[in-house]
């Protein structure tokens, strides 16, 4: 960690099943306008722009280059892109801010899953020789993971329904959410299986959406808003690509990332201590795995936004977790929070971002 960097603004589109008429640029444009407008800045004030998206979703090459029309890159800007969730774009922007050459960065991501066949598209992220040709879809793979969790005696289908019921209820207060509702776990358990042991409520919705965050460093952040959400640590870790090489019931990469994000002193530490945790758990049982990995206590408010079960725009929902966590620090509802993002099948990659209202010490520029 070097100099302090904070989230100073967050915006997102309304999450919907299908953007019928707007293309990626048109979905993104008002979001970028809002995230900059919130803090009275323009794109010309940004030292760096970084985005996260995937061409596979829309089936268009270099769609991230087209998306730059939503920012306006003249005069030419310093820009980068990750073919990942925007949370990883935020990580890249954070490293650049830590280096000290720039004071502000715009991070955004967009994901319209509706143009393609999402389950087939996601199968393409698997090993291309032995797995992808079999087209195992992400729901089937998640179901294997959920089954393993049940077989270990660590969770039941009722626990999955509990997570879904709480998420949907929380999402009723989230105007951007796609799936909301006040149904009890018992009612949800009457849903049909999609792939056993996962019933409809344990699956994320298919979502079109976009989100953006402005990061600022040091005094610039303090000058922009009263209560920046300071990043006190951020780290991401990846597990083997081969699903058979992993214990799918655990998330060691999340735990290690929490250590890297300074939420835990070491991997043996007892628990993560934050007021709010926004966990990117696309499937209900994955929240349980992540809670275990972070050893979150019952006092932690988990996914007050409704989480990924309420809206799961690909390449966006992870950045939204950081944004939702930061929003609660910025508006005073929490003094500490964590945002978590995942990518790949069955929680393969995990990023943990620790946020605090307390400005961390300036450790100088450079590692």
């Amino acid at each position: 960690m070097t100099r302090p960097v904070a989230v100073v603004s967050f915006a997102q589109s309304k999450n919907v099943r299908r953007e019928d008429h707007r293309n990626e640029v048109e979905v993104l444009l008002p979001v970028v306008g809002e995230v900059l407008g919130n803090v009275g800045l323009t794109k010309d004030d940004m030292g760096f722009v970084c985005s996260g998206s995937s061409d596979y979703l829309v089936g268009a090459p270099f769609s991230f280059v087209m998306a730059l029309d939503a920012v306006g890159v003249w005069p030419p800007m310093r820009e980068s892109h990750v073919e990942m969730d925007g949370a990883w774009a935020l990580y890249e922007a954070w490293t650049l801010l830590c280096e000290g050459e720039i004071d502000t960065a715009l991070v955004y991501s967009f994901g319209r899953s509706s143009p393609g066949e999402l389950l087939r598209v996601l199968a393409l992220q698997l090993d291309p020789y032995y797995m992808a040709p079999l087209w195992p879809d992400p729901v089937a793979l998640a179901a294997l993971q959920a089954r393993a969790l049940i077989d270990e005696g660590r969770a039941s289908e009722a626990d999955f329904a509990e997570v879904a019921a709480r998420s949907r209820r929380a999402a009723m207060d989230n105007p951007y959410a796609q799936v909301t509702g006040d149904r009890s776990p018992e009612e949800l358990l009457a849903d049909d299986y999609v792939v056993a042991p996962l019933r409809r409520h344990a699956l994320p919705p298919i979502t079109d959406g976009a989100a953006a965050i402005v990061l600022a460093a040091g005094d610039r952040a303090s000058a922009l808003i009263e209560r920046p959400a300071w990043i006190t640590g951020i780290d991401h870790r990846i597990e083997p690509h081969a699903l058979g090489a992993r214990d799918l019931t655990k998330s060691p990469s999340t735990r290690r990332a929490a250590v890297g994000a300074r939420l835990l002193a070491d991997e043996a530490s007892s628990s993560v201590d934050v007021e709010v945790a926004e966990l990117h758990a696309p499937f209900a049982h994955q929240e349980l795995i992540l809670r275990d990995a972070l050893r979150l206590s019952d006092k932690v408010s988990v996914n007050p936004s409704g989480g990924a079960l309420a809206a799961n725009a690909m390449m966006v929902a992870g950045l939204v977790r950081i944004g939702e966590a930061a929003a609660r620090v910025m508006d005073g509802r929490a003094s500490s929070a964590l945002g978590h993002a995942t990518s790949g099948p069955c929680l393969q990659q995990n990023l943990v971002c620790a946020l605090s209202a307390q400005r961390p010490a300036d450790e100088g520029v450079g590692r």
Binding site: R22, N23, G33, R120, Y129
Partner: protein
């Protein structure tokens, strides 16, 4: 030699794993307006409220300023050739007899050139500044795609001054 060793001597160099994913493209609000205009036999652009430039086809935002282009502008049916190339190379699927002219046409009122064919002119007579007009398919054949514009042809007007389009090259 065991069968395992025999197999090892012949490495697998290729595997075939067919992949097919279908997509439904969304043109977007701005391009949909443009394509609808094409199906009505006219060019619709959009103006940036900040820099006032008119884009055609519009993409909904100004790529320079990053703001929505909401003002719709009906552009003229004619314009100026800013630059061109004469295609002399045959290729598979070619539908026009060579040599033919492919040109960037700056429609009157637009701030970005538009790609089109130039016909009814010998290829060696095309030039920068040539004034051209769009020739459309029969009204009954108009459709929301660029095949509705058959080509551009000379209007007979005097050539445009170089300075009038030098900023659009």
């Amino acid at each position: 030699m065991s069968s395992v060793e025999a197999n090892a001597a012949e490495p697998v160099t290729t595997i075939v794993t067919p992949i097919r994913v279908d997509y439904q493209f969304t043109a977007g609000l701005a391009q949909s307006r443009f394509l609808k205009g094409i199906s009505e036999g006219r060019f619709l652009g959009q103006r940036c409220p900040r820099c006032k430039k008119v884009y055609v086809p519009p993409r909904g935002s100004c790529p320079t300023d990053g703001v929505a282009t909401t003002d719709e502008v009906v552009l003229a049916n004619k314009g100026t050739v800013t630059t061109y190339c004469v295609v002399n190379v045959p290729f598979v699927g070619q539908s026009i007899e060579i040599p033919y002219i492919c040109a960037q046409v700056l429609l009157d009122g637009a701030d970005i050139a538009f790609m089109g064919l130039v016909q009814e002119l010998p290829a060696d007579q095309v030039r920068m500044g040539l004034r051209v007009e769009a020739v459309w398919v029969e009204p009954s054949e108009l459709a929301p795609n660029l095949s509705s514009v058959k080509y551009f042809r000379p209007t007979g007007e005097p050539d445009a001054e170089y300075e009038s389009f030098s900023q659009y090259l």
